[in-house]
Symmetry: C2
């Protein structure tokens, strides 16, 4: 069963490569239209999911926020989902872009052209509209996709997937270009289909990503915990320090780009630090502070909300109103601390010193290295990427907020227009050598 | 032990990030000088490896070609190894390149800057000079490396690694930036160090790559078998067809970019095909042909070297003077055959038809899609990439011949120059929005 799904996805991908890229936008329009028509049917299925979830929320087995994410009937939600399809259609095509072009010799031209990765397996939780969002991104980028939603949204997801397939059937993109599965055992079986599936994208936390990496030979793109830090350097400006530290911590505490650690330069312990501490405590944050930063709060209002930290605190994603605080001797120690303890996601320095900025941007092994800016900026939409497929804390393929560009790879197209074709003997072993001249990247050869 | 090596590599990588990139060339020069001085010592160690290998070759346990690859004392070999270091030093820096730059708002600039991946684990066979080559590539690209050579070259590799470490110790690049290990058990232990190692590069065949993928959560870049095809389309030119088919097959039969399969358009079976068949047989190639192509050879000289093919032949990397032949009904069937049977490495079409060329370039799911050109062109040096780290048949990160660009990823550097720093509240929730204006990519911010 899993193998059949994977083979169908592979065939759909391969067939779609012979279809003009402009047909992808036609397919997106068809899906939008079908979902507009089927609104009542989708909302009815979603209502079933909501009904099933409510007792679980009351029994404390599901969170109330999950229930809210599950609800497609919230005012504006369905229209936003439809608008998302239109927005993705309007993005520039990530495929067919020439990223390298050389003449190897007269009449022999090489182009490196971006193309879809192939077949994606995307695993996500709760929010049913993600099915539509991922389907749109996959279609726009030319990748076939197999989707697995959360078990709480199974009714919604099943109906949405069927409508997408029916809408595709009316276009030149195969209807199996986007498929969905609903059980965990199907995922395990799909993770073995490395012959047909090219990339797995678990959209969830560290546990999901690690568990999937342990199960598959397929490349995995995803993000681990978001253990982000703010570092107040020796020359930190007070106003910047308070604004950046406070927003990074409290703007949206459940987000992966929220700050969990605050590092303080030793020269600031009795000056700037108590002011920042009081600003954090004033908005409800508890401090887990090392000996030096804890002692410095004696007699300040913040002292009441400060306790001694443990080493474990510096590895913890609190996802709530707690921050771990530690003194460091300078930017190098701050970088060392973060490289060792963080999840290599997003970290921000507050400084006026160019040398510290340079060390930060170069030495920090994080996807997003910020200077005097809130960690909350780490987001594809804020970056102007158009949309965000997810955030990657991996070190290969794509890193940080991943846009449509993260769903493509490239192929080399070599074309000889010589009268007798091209063989390497024309260029080597007494042949005429290679010219290796750069040529125009304006247009892909086909 | 493996963990200590991995941690040492990680620390060396992190420390090196704070060193100016120009120091990498200083380190390369230091290594070249040290290896020039130590020539006798290295050749003495290599002679030990040769002595140990000779009885194994005589007993048929090692191939004579392996012995030749092992020999650093062959005329010109040592000097070529030294020149290789100079050549790598002369390549453009792959790091510090800005690939995306936007102003998010006044005084808030985002740059995406290429940077090293981190710590590489490279596993290779036989040729001891690969240690020096990989060390040079790792240093130039800013990646720390842990190297494991073939057991036949252990004496050479050990001495070369020690000299490299000593040469690094005289520079600002840490001496543990390049380390080597010599046993298979150390590799297994290193494959578990996903906390410290970012990328594994097995430079060997399919079996090595698959075995490593099964053992690790770390990203793996490598190439599988090279099952490459040449397809003679309906409009194929005779001269081009013979030149491309013959060179693709026989130029270097042990190479991964040599042709193993020949697909023939059905309209050519009694016309062009016998001429190509005779040209192949004339240079010593045996044909494994399907019913139609076999029957068409009756009465020709090629018939003596042609036998009936099996389905298995179309999945086989012969690496010798054999080619599997099959009739197809057109370019679409050729693409389907190759996508199913090949290793997605390099395939060439011989055609005069633009529509076939376009279908080939788009529909073929191979790293290298060639038109009227020998499959032997698939090579980093021939492509003008400067050097080749390896060839990847994976679908993420890097594909096809991989140059230094394949050893880098990127990070996002966001810098606020605003008087009060930047928080998202300045732009959202009633703030001023984002400008998302493209800005110059000329220079990295640090």
């Amino acid at each position: 069963m899993a193998e059949q799904i994977a083979i169908a996805a592979r065939r759909a991908f391969e067939a779609s490569q012979l279809v003009a890229a402009s047909e992808r936008d036609v397919a997106l329009a068809s899906i939008r239209e079908a979902l507009t028509t089927a609104r009542d049917e989708v909302l009815a299925a979603n209502a079933k999911d909501m009904e099933a979830a409510k007792p679980l929320v009351e029994a404390g087995k599901l969170s109330a926020s999950l229930l809210s994410r599950l609800d497609l009937g919230r005012p504006g939600k369905y229209d936003a989902m439809l608008q998302g399809i239109t927005d993705v259609a309007a993005l520039p095509l990530p495929t067919g872009v020439v990223t390298f072009a050389k003449e190897l010799g007269p009449g022999l031209e090489l182009h490196r052209v971006t193309c879809p990765v192939g077949v994606l397996l995307v695993i996500f939780e709760a929010r049913p509209e993600v099915v539509v969002n991922i389907a749109a991104l996959a279609i726009k980028s030319g990748n076939a996709a197999i989707l697995k939603g959360g078990k709480e949204s199974v009714n919604s997801t099943t109906v949405l997937s069927r409508i997408i397939a029916e809408a595709l059937a009316k276009t030149s993109i195969p209807s199996t270009f986007v498929q969905s599965v609903s059980t965990r055992s199907e995922i395990s079986a799909l993770l073995a289909q490395d012959k047909y599936i090219d990339l797995v994208m678990p959209r969830g936390g560290n546990e999901l990503v690690t568990s999937i990496k342990n199960q598959t030979k397929i490349a995995v793109m995803g993000h681990a915990d978001g253990i982000c830090a703010v570092y107040l350097d020796k020359t930190a400006d007070e106003h910047k320090a308070i604004r950046v530290a406070v927003e990074s911590k409290i703007d949206y505490m459940a987000a992966c780009n929220a700050a969990e650690t605050l590092l303080v330069h030793e020269s600031l312990v009795s000056t700037l630090w108590p002011k920042v501490a009081n600003a954090l405590v004033a908005v409800g944050v508890s401090l887990r502070a090392d000996a030096a930063t804890l002692a410095a709060l004696a007699g300040t209002p913040a002292a009441a909300n400060a306790t001694a930290s443990t080493e474990e605190d510096y590895y913890t994603e609190f996802l709530g109103p707690i921050i771990a605080v530690k003194v460091v001797s300078g930017v190098n120690e701050a970088i060392e601390h973060i490289n060792l303890h963080s999840s290599h996601h997003t970290d921000s320095i507050v400084t006026e010193d160019e040398a510290s900025m340079s060390a930060w941007a170069r030495g920090l092994d994080s996807a997003n290295c910020f200077i005097n800016a809130s960690t909350r900026f780490a987001d594809g939409t804020r970056y102007g990427l158009g949309t965000e497929v997810g955030i990657s804390t991996g070190k290969t393929h794509a890193r940080g907020p991943v846009g449509l560009d993260g769903l493509v790879i490239y192929k080399y197209v070599l074309r000889s227009t010589k009268d007798d074709g091209s063989v390497i003997a024309d260029h080597e072993k007494g042949g005429k050598g290679y010219t290796h001249t750069d040529i125009s990247r304006e247009q892909a050869p086909f």
